[in-house]
């Protein structure tokens, strides 16, 4: 488990270093994710891992444990709401309407475009 955790941390660190040196607006952990997928792809070419077996590996099990706990990781930042009651209350209606309506629109447009483009592609293949 520790070896897998070390690999995740190393990828994150490498990602942070890379985006800072390059000045990209990508978050370090997201770059770390990209690096790990690329690394796994490379290892798969060498026959060291396969998409079918990675989930059962040490790395896969450690990652599953972290992903299963994803929800709790937002609690510390979310509890920061106590500091901003005043500002949120002052523009409460505008903020509430913007958040709710925009989230509904975003979910709808994203899913609808995804499905529409995929259907158009499937039709093109037939």
């Amino acid at each position: 488990m520790l070896r897998a955790f070390g690999l995740l941390l190393a990828c994150q660190l490498l990602g942070e270093v890379l985006v800072r040196l390059a000045g990209w607006p990508v978050p370090g952990p997201v770059m770390g994710l990209i690096l790990l997928v690329a690394g796994l792809g490379l290892a798969a070419r060498l026959g060291k891992v396969a998409p079918e077996t990675v989930t059962a590996s040490e790395l896969g099990r450690t990652s599953s444990a972290l992903i299963a706990a994803l929800g709790i990781l937002f609690v510390p930042a979310g509890a920061g709401v106590v500091q901003h009651f005043g500002q949120i209350a002052a523009h409460g209606a505008a903020i509430a309407v913007a958040l709710v309506v925009s989230t509904i629109l975003t979910l709808t447009v994203t899913a609808a475009v995804f499905v529409a483009v995929r259907r158009a592609m499937d039709r093109g293949e037939e």
């Binding site: 937002f74 609690v75 447009v109 995804f114 499905v115 995929r118």
Partner: protein, 239 residues
């Protein structure tokens, strides 16, 4: 320690107390969500945040002191984001097959998220400072804070709005998609990851592994796309 007040003074100054409270609040919230049969309206992230925020308010604990303990949990967000590489790699064939729909949905979704938020809030009379804090609401917290800070917004307010959006999207995803008759787990996951970042992704993983994988991808892609798009939209508005 000869009275309970002294014990409280001692405990409340160590990271251990608030770290324990964060974990226990989450376990309780997750047990409630499980007991509801994972009903979309019973969101464990929301319940745990309200519990902790309530305890902070009741005990008069400053947020900075709370964070001294909770930072150990907060820190794990980084490695957990990297860990999303594993389900992505495990489903790499499905991901490759959906590359074109993903890019199309990313552009449409990212623009919708930013423009609709600004338009609605501006029409309701919100000042520029609030508009800037709101615009990156669908982006994962760390990047959203950077985006709003770069435009003169308040990063801490952005973080709260980001988390609220995450919870809203996680709660609305399943009922909304049922209403729209969109059954494809890849499309559902991609939409909730784009609109509601990591909180949406966490919700998607409890529903279906494919949905979770696409949510994780959408979260990463939208973070990058919005880092460019949000400043561009404000430049267009000013010009």
């Amino acid at each position: 320690m000869d009275n309970p007040f002294q014990l409280w003074v001692y405990l409340s100054a160590t990271p251990l107390l608030w770290l324990t409270i964060t974990v226990v609040a989450w376990l309780g919230a997750d047990a409630i969500a499980k007991a509801s049969g994972r009903h979309p309206l019973v969101n464990p992230v929301l319940i745990a945040i309200l519990t902790v925020a309530g305890l902070l308010a009741v005990t008069g604990t400053p947020y900075a002191r709370y964070f001294e303990g909770a930072q150990f949990v907060h820190f794990l967000l980084g490695p957990a984001t990297v860990a999303l590489a594993i389900p992505m790699f495990a489903n790499i064939r499905t991901v490759r097959r959906n590359l074109v729909p993903m890019v199309a949905a990313l552009i449409a979704g990212a623009v919708t998220a930013i423009v609709s938020t600004i338009a609605i809030a501006a029409a309701s009379g919100a000042p520029q400072k609030v508009l800037v804090a709101l615009a990156p609401k669908s982006v994962t917290a760390a990047i959203a804070m950077g985006i709003s800070e770069g435009l003169g917004g308040e990063p801490a307010l952005t973080a709260v709005l980001v988390i609220t959006t995450g919870i809203l999207g996680a709660v609305m995803m399943t009922p909304l998609m049922n209403l729209l008759r969109i059954r494809d787990q890849a499309a559902r996951g991609f939409a909730v990851g784009l609109a509601s970042h990591g909180i949406g992704t966490a919700q998607a993983f409890t529903v279906d592994p494919v949905a979770g994988t696409f949510a994780g991808i959408a979260m990463g892609l939208n973070a990058v796309a919005s880092a460019f798009l949000v400043p561009a939209v404000f430049r267009l508005m000013a010009g």
